[in-house]
């Protein structure tokens, strides 16, 4: 092999293409930073106390806030978790500990498909399932929509973390006379609990920003929404409505709401990763 191999032209192509891949990465990062930076700038400058404590001011007037939407989003997430988390946990346990063969395959595959259903279609589904029979929009319907959307990720992440628990731990439990279910609840789940919690928190963060399924389930509300049976405002829908409105005051509030929503999501996602890291540390001494 001669010293000049590869030829100069190949070397140039090599450097050029490698540089190009670096540029691609830079471009994506730049877009990311621009989005976050712009949102931070616009959002933070539009924030004030009233934003958190007041309900929206009448059209065209300044002032007011989105207190009702913040409360609405929290209520929706609480309801969604109440539906999505138990089903996801149970399904995850079933897949990792009991299911075998075709039933495991079918459920796993269906779960992945359900996860890929466009959120707007999920909105239609819950509209026909809940809103039509009830004849009106409600927090209930919105929570059910988000709850159903939570199931696939809660289920699959629970399954993955349970599967990662080594067989030796399960055998350790069985060998001490624990039944399979005792082993699951006293050894396998505790061993995987940090991962499971992380998965669920990320799952909540993911549905917290969903807008489309709320448009025709929770709908929206200019006022506080008492109880669970009335339409409710939510942060994502408020962002949407305000952003496409013609009023500058509302645009400001859309930015502020976007900022609050995204900060919330990022905080959840960072905290949950810390939970996972702490869990790793605990179980490795």
């Amino acid at each position: 092999m001669s010293a000049s191999y590869p030829p100069l032209s190949r070397k140039i192509i090599n450097v050029a293409m490698l540089a190009l891949t670096g540029l691609c990465t830079l471009l994506v990062l730049a877009v990311l930073l621009t989005i976050l930076g712009y949102l931070l700038w616009k959002g933070a400058s539009s924030l004030n106390i009233a934003f958190f404590t007041k309900i929206p001011a009448p059209v065209g007037q300044s002032g007011g806030g989105v207190e009702n939407a913040i409360v609405g989003t929290l209520k929706l997430l609480a309801l969604a978790s109440a539906i999505g988390v138990p089903i996801g946990l149970l399904g995850g346990i079933y897949l990792s500990e009991f299911a075998g063969g075709w039933s495991a395959f079918t459920i796993r595959y269906t779960t992945d498909l359900l996860n890929g259903v466009p959120s707007v279609v999920m909105g239609i589904f819950v509209y026909t399932l809940v809103v039509l029979p009830m004849h009106h929009f409600s927090t209930m319907a919105g929570g059910i929509a988000l709850g159903i959307m939570m199931i696939p990720i809660a289920l699959r992440s629970t399954e993955d973390f349970l599967r990662a628990v080594p067989r030796s731990l399960r055998e350790g439990g069985l060998a001490l006379g624990a039944s399979k279910s005792e082993t699951i609840f006293t050894i396998v789940i505790p061993a995987a609990i940090y991962g499971i919690i992380t998965g669920i928190m990320l799952d909540i963060a993911r549905v917290a920003g969903e807008t489309a399924p709320l448009l025709f389930t929770a709908f929206g509300n200019l006022y506080d929404s008492p109880g669970w049976m009335q339409p409710t405002a939510s942060l994502p829908v408020v962002i949407y409505n305000y952003a496409i409105s013609p009023y500058d005051v509302w645009h400001q509030q859309a930015w502020a709401a976007g900022f609050v929503l995204l900060s919330g999501l990022l905080v959840i996602s960072v905290v949950s990763r810390m939970v996972l890291a702490r869990g790793k540390k605990l179980s490795h001494g």
Partner: protein, 329 residues
């Protein structure tokens, strides 16, 4: 053989209550059937929900399906007032924006994935990937917000120059109003690029060293090795990531609704406003008066469902077969 008889136990063998009768309480506590059944209900609820979903989409779109049949997909008149529904403008808009978005994000995403998998030190690569995956966590309504207030103003400044030189091409001509197929495609491409990067990076990383070594030994450059040995080996996984992104782009609602203009027309120019299936559902669903209108919108949902499911299934299949590949390789 002397002495092959073992003695009787000094302490008679009692087996420590081993053969005591089981109480119902012990049976319940030790019984796995109850837990099995309860978790089974959790697992099967997925099938029930999915079944209900399909059934509802089917039943609640029947009026429209019966009235328009397959013409629904290719007729371009969408006239709620007169009860005539043809979805072609939406189908067209959905396909155009998704494909354009992929055309933008595939090269960039693949480039970045190659950089992150092959060039960047692993630590840096992991940190950058974490950041890029944050992009995937940003809700679509926020992309819409950025699209309206940041992207479109920028495009207003850029597009006229572009049109000065390329305006003769039919896909670039016409007045630019900001909201357009083009704007929607750019937003979509930003939204799907994290998927392409993170999945492709993973499959590239998992390509066995042996694949590289053979070419490296021949004195090939780093790029040659990557492009001719590593990428072809990982192409199934990469295709999988692309199909997944396509499914996402097709079904994406809010961000597109906010920047595409929502005009039910079919234009050759990418600079013209348009409409997509998801956007029309989001916009008109709560205003749909009359059952036929509602059913037409739900039929659009059904179409979207079927198409995204097909691409999702393809993506999963590709990635499944790739996993088998890994085991063999």
């Amino acid at each position: 053989m002397a002495n092959t008889v073992l003695a009787t136990p000094e302490v008679p063998f009692e087996s420590r209550g081993l053969d005591k009768k089981q109480t119902w309480w012990e049976r319940l506590r030790k019984g796995d059937e109850v837990v099995h059944l309860i978790t089974l209900a959790g697992g099967w609820s997925i099938l029930v929900i999915t079944g209900l979903l399909v059934q509802h989409l089917w039943v609640y779109s029947r009026l429209s399906r019966h009235a328009f049949g397959w013409h629904f997909l290719v007729d371009s008149t969408w006239d709620p007032v007169n009860g005539v529904f043809g979805a072609w403008p939406f189908v067209y808009g959905t396909v155009v924006t998704s494909l354009l978005a992929l055309a933008i994000s595939i090269p960039i995403g693949l480039g970045a994935a190659i950089f992150l998998a092959e060039l960047a030190p692993r630590k840096l690569s992991n940190a950058l990937t974490f950041l890029i995956e944050l992009l995937a966590a940003v809700p679509s309504v926020i992309y819409g917000l950025i699209g309206i207030f940041l992207l479109i103003p920028v495009l207003f400044n850029v597009v006229p120059y572009f049109q000065k030189y390329f305006g003769w091409l039919p896909i670039f001509n016409g007045t630019f109003y900001g909201v357009s197929y083009f704007s929607a495609s750019i937003v979509l491409s930003i939204m799907v690029v994290p998927f392409i990067i993170s999945i492709s990076r993973e499959v590239l990383i998992s390509v066995p060293v042996s694949q590289r070594e053979a070419m490296m030994a021949l004195g090939a450059t780093k790029w040659d090795v990557t492009w001719r040995a590593v990428v072809p080996y990982a192409r199934q996984g990469i295709m999988g990531s692309i199909f997944l992104s396509l499914a996402r782009a097709l079904g994406e609602t809010m961000a597109v609704t906010m920047v595409i203009g929502n005009v039910a027309q079919v234009s050759t120019s990418l600079m013209a406003p348009g409409y997509t299936i998801a956007a029309v559902i989001a916009n008109e669903f709560t205003e749909a008066t009359g059952d036929l209108y509602l059913h037409a919108l739900i039929e659009l949902g059904l179409v979207l469902f079927v198409v995204t499911m097909i691409f999702n299934a393809l993506a999963r299949l590709l990635m499944l077969t790739m996993k088998g590949h890994e085991v063999v390789g």
